[in-house]
């Protein structure tokens, strides 16, 4: 029994009242990866639970191609058993008393023994876990467990795959290799894959369509760069990896140049940032990536960058392939440099430095 080439899109239009807010989602998820990105508690897992049939929306419709999963108006709610969905939980939920092979074949209940063996062997090989088939989950490493959980979901040939932060806690190389296996598997099938995460590194690793979710609402969708480089709220900016979130007050708007000047609340340093909707006198937050700040040990001149502030290094700390500096320049800034730059500039605590920030590396964040 070969799998039919399934290219149905998932259409979600639903409302569900949660304790803190109302989850209200309207979106079409085409075949292929869609990253659902948002801070913890934004409603991501509840959305997946509703799609899988583990939670019930208050109203709306959820459809996969021609199949109706849920229709509030018609009181239709397909049980999870009938939805043919793959779902990998954050906790993975491997059955602890069953071996890897028993876990993987669990969802192949009614299929003949020969076909079952063929499918299990195929998926074990695709995810490089065939040597582990006799082991129990407790005897597996983190990455191996994640491979088993993916294999267990995919062997049933689901029409839709839901992934709730399945690769959290893995280092970059391992994550890439698992993602590569998942991509190769999906190239042949092209089902929609919803990949939920609040981790910016995972977004970059997948690098496909992304949609943000916050307080139960979907935000912008598009390519990861275009969506995440202009965070609209503080929580999203933090989740998207903006190390610097500075309180500021708008001084003036220069509509012709498309910029405005702000003064930082702490220390009073002035920055030029892209024009936003905020009016003079209004308080705003400015988000800057630690990696987008240049450091100089002499006062720089002849630069196109509009923002130069003098400061002093407070501390330097190595974190893997980057050096993390705390620099006091009125406000405190977090700056990332390479270990080589740290050596060449002899960056140590108490050294005077200049910070250089391009106007368009500063992002206005709506106060929330």
């Amino acid at each position: 029994m070969a799998a039919p080439l399934e290219t149905a899109a998932l259409s979600v239009e639903m409302r569900k009242r949660l304790s803190a807010f109302e989850l209200e989602i309207q979106h079409q998820f085409p075949p292929g990866f869609t990253v659902v990105f948002g801070p913890s508690g934004a409603g991501k897992s509840t959305l997946l639970d509703c799609i899988a049939g583990l939670a019930r929306p208050d109203a709306g419709r959820i459809e996969l191609g021609a199949a109706t999963f849920f229709d509030g108006a018609q009181s239709v709610s397909l049980p999870p058993q009938k939805r043919q969905v793959g779902y990998v939980f954050q906790s993975l939920a491997l059955f602890p008393h069953l071996s890897v092979e028993e876990n993987v074949r669990y969802g192949l209940g009614t299929i003949g023994e020969e076909e079952r063996r063929r499918r299990v062997d195929q998926v074990l090989q695709a995810f490089h876990i065939e040597k582990l088939s006799e082991r129990k989950p407790a005897q597996l490493s983190g990455g191996e467990k994640q491979r088993v959980a993916l294999a267990r979901s995919l062997v049933t040939q689901p029409r839709l795959l839901l992934l709730d932060e399945p690769l959290t806690g893995l280092d970059g190389g391992l994550r890439q290799s698992i993602l590569q296996d998942l991509r190769e598997w999906n190239d042949a099938r092209r089902i929609p894959i919803l990949y939920v995460t609040h981790n910016r590194d995972e977004v970059d690793a997948i690098g496909e369509r992304i949609i943000t979710i916050e307080n139960g609402r979907l935000g912008k969708s598009g390519a990861p760069r275009s969506v995440l480089d202009a965070p609209q709220t503080v929580a999203l900016a933090q989740a998207a990896g903006f190390e610097n979130l500075l309180e500021a007050r708008v001084l003036e708007r220069r509509e012709d140049d498309g910029v405005m000047r702000v003064a930082l609340e702490e220390g009073g340093a002035e920055l030029e940032i892209p024009l936003g909707s905020a009016q003079p006198g209004e308080r705003v937050k400015v988000a800057i990536r630690a990696g987008d700040i240049l450091l100089a040990i002499e006062e720089p001149g002849g630069l196109s960058a509009r923002n130069v502030c003098q400061g002093i290094v407070e501390s330097v700390e190595s974190r893997g392939a980057i050096a993390v500096l705390r620099v006091r320049a009125g406000s405190r800034f977090i700056v990332h440099v390479t270990p080589g730059a740290r050596r060449a500039l002899q960056l140590v605590a108490a050294k005077p430095v200049w910070l250089v920030v391009k106007t368009h590396s500063c992002h206005l964040v709506t106060q929330r």
């Binding site: 583990l54 999870p80 939920a93 008393h97 267990r152």
Partner: protein
Amino acid sequence: MSIEALLLSLRLALTVAVVLLVVAMPLAYWLAFTRWRGKFLLESIVALPLVLPPTVLGFYALMAMGPRGVLGKLWSAMFGHPLAFTFSGLVIASLFYSLPFAVQPLVASFESLDRRLLEASAILGASGLRSFHRIVLPLSWPGVITALVLSFAHTLGEFGVVLMVGGNLPGITRTISIDIYDRTQALDYAGAHQTALLLLLVSFVVLSIVYGINRRVWSPWPHR
């Protein structure tokens, strides 16, 4: 010591423990997973024998099983003989008496299961029954053993209920506790002591087995 009484008690306790496991399993499963708000009512009914004097339970059991009781009439109609003062009557009364000792360890065990495992099973297409048999039961065996052992031990030593519904018919309803009582009444302290000591040892061994398996399942002691 009366071997006849000991064997009767063992037979009664074993029957009750096995039947109770079958009855308590679905009940405990329902109690562990239902979202019904009124479930505390059923929980209270199940736990009633823990606080009710056994004579009260025995009294109502006798009323129900007597020739004019609902159960008694039904039984006579089906089997052609009365229910009260028979071994079957003893089993039925003991089922109620030991119910909480079977239900509570099972509920505790089911409730401690990771719900995500059951959800994963459902998403992989497994029916409720298959999930129960493949996931719930294998992961709850300490609870199952505890339920079996506790209801066995509790039934083994019962006195009040047996006295009310069983009477004192040698080989039919004369259990080991009744035997101890009779001997004490007859001032046969040596005989009573022999039997009592045996019961004490059996109870100790049984509890050692339970706590040796898993003290978290049902325990008056704080969690380790």
